[in-house]
């Protein structure tokens, strides 16, 4: 390969890349907040005693798990506005699409965590007079969050990567900016390499942190 790498053209595009990065981080943070909160709520619904609650929740989870994320995003951008005749800000639409997808995956992660809470703890909550919602908030959630944390964080990184898909519907995120720069300068190799490195640098510390937490949990189990 005698391709001459030349990164100099990117010097002037630093600002554009930063803008894209900001949008990407916004998308990732917002969809993760949504996924962490709604994921737990959805998990409770999916584990409900009542079929009428459990069934739609499970359907929601399976829908998002069993269709491509790209399709979900496209569907959100084109079909939702057609159905309800509103199109909110593109970033918000992106957050909704990514966030709902993450909600479904996080609900499954939480479920494993909730199931790992010993049954005796629930008995103890009754004996202590805690109401069902207090039991959920003060005893089940903290324990489930702890158990589910590695998977939740892995899902979170996944959502950061998936956020690149919104470039396809013209949200100016990091991927979108990269794509524009690459076509303008006819330098896809350099541009996409730099963009990839930025995604990598964002995700790697979190992935490493997941390893540390998993190791600590393994040790705690052995103790």
């Amino acid at each position: 390969m005698n391709y001459q790498f030349d990164f100099r053209f990117l010097e002037g595009s630093f600002g554009a890349l930063l803008d894209g990065l900001r949008v990407t981080i916004e998308l990732a943070v917002a969809s993760n907040l949504m996924g962490l909160v709604l994921g737990f709520a959805l998990c409770l619904l999916a584990m409900s005693r009542w079929t009428i609650v459990r069934w739609p929740a499970q359907l929601f989870i399976e829908f998002f798990r069993c269709t491509p994320a790209l399709l979900q995003i496209v569907w959100f951008f084109y079909c939702v506005p057609m159905m309800v005749d509103v199109f909110i800000d593109p970033i918000l639409m992106g957050v909704l699409a990514l966030g709902l997808n993450l909600t479904a995956f996080n609900a499954e992660a939480y479920r494993a965590g909730v199931q790992a809470v010993p049954k005796e703890h629930l008995d103890a909550c009754v004996a202590l007079g805690l109401k069902p919602w207090q039991r959920t908030m003060y005893v089940v959630l903290p324990q489930a969050l702890r158990t589910a944390m590695p998977v939740l964080m892995t899902n979170g990184i996944g959502s950061l990567q998936q956020s690149a898909l919104v470039a396809i519907v013209a949200v100016a995120d990091l991927m979108y900016v990269g794509k524009s720069l690459a076509t303008e300068a006819y330098r896809p190799l350099e541009t996409y390499t730099v963009v990839a490195l930025i995604y990598f640098a964002l995700s790697l510390p979190i992935a490493k942190l997941v390893h540390v937490i998993e190791r600590r949990q393994d040790l705690a189990v052995k103790r």
């Binding site: 010993p118 008995d123 207090q134």
Partner: protein
């Protein structure tokens, strides 16, 4: 006291509606014709009658599957009963499903009962202090400062004041159970239930937990205790109740029960367990 041995054995007859007239409501705890089964075959409380006075410490003994733990779980309100009634402090407390009431348990009375379990039930994400003050603050209406003050008091009494900020994973099994007892006492219950609280412990830790319970006994705490430890039963009980197949076979003062049990079933059981000890 012996009248409670009279059992109603006819399964087909619907249990009589018990009336809590003043003449019968003097008892602190009163099981009247309590019926509970899991499915058709496993009857854990077979029309059980049981009385307990406020200064009583009942120890329930019996082979496994005899309904000992069910009795405690029902009293705590963890599980319902199909038939009969339970009175607590002279008031109706729990109703059987056959009573056809929407509310089958009096939540106010339920709050006056504390329970300690066989397995460790300290919440691992909270410190000892956090475990102790959770319910008093969220349910009991105490301020955090008041609850913390009370927690210090109880921990000091149990010789655990240095563990206030420790997490459950840093405690030994015996310490965990002592903290669990303190956590139940924080709500100042009128009755304490102990469900085989020492059977998951190493022998040397059993004593420290039993000592805490003996001290509670000195302070006249009403207790119902399920245990396999017959020596401890003899030390702490005012009355020993022998259950088998969901029925109370025999009950009496510990000295009488262990020395000269009247029923063959009781004798057989005691010979077996005392021999093993």
């Amino acid at each position: 006291m012996l009248s409670s041995q009279t059992m109603i054995a006819q399964h087909d007859v619907p249990p009589a509606v018990v009336d809590f007239s003043p003449s019968t409501s003097g008892e602190f705890v009163q099981f009247s014709d309590v019926y509970k089964s899991y499915g058709e075959n496993l009857v854990v409380m077979d029309h059980m009658n049981l009385d307990m006075r406020e200064d009583d410490r009942l120890v329930i003994i019996g082979p496994s599957g005899s309904g000992k733990s069910s009795l405690l779980r029902v009293m705590m309100g963890l599980e319902g009963i199909q038939g009969g009634q339970i009175g607590f402090q002279g008031k109706p407390y729990i109703f059987g499903a056959d009573a056809g009431r929407a509310k089958r348990i009096d939540a106010k009375l339920q709050k006056q009962i504390g329970m300690v379990f066989q397995h460790y039930t300290l919440f691992p994400h909270l410190s000892v202090l956090g475990n102790l003050i959770l319910a008093p603050v969220k349910v009991g209406g105490l301020s955090k400062a008041e609850a913390t003050e009370r927690a210090r008091l109880y921990l000091a009494r149990l010789g655990l004041e240095s563990k206030l900020h420790a997490y459950p994973s840093q405690l030994s099994g015996g310490q965990k159970q002592r903290v669990a007892i303190a956590r139940a006492l924080m709500l100042e219950p009128k009755l304490m239930l102990f469900d085989e609280v020492t059977s998951a412990l190493d022998p040397e830790m059993v004593i420290e937990v039993q000592n805490v319970m003996l001290r509670l006994a000195e302070q006249k705490m009403a207790m119902i205790i399920v245990t396999h430890d017959m020596h401890f039963a003899r030390d702490i009980a005012t009355r020993v109740v022998f259950c088998a197949s969901g029925k109370i076979v025999e009950q009496g003062a510990p000295a009488d029960m262990f020395k000269c049990p009247k029923q063959a079933r009781t004798r057989e059981f005691l010979e077996k367990v005392l021999h093993l000890d």
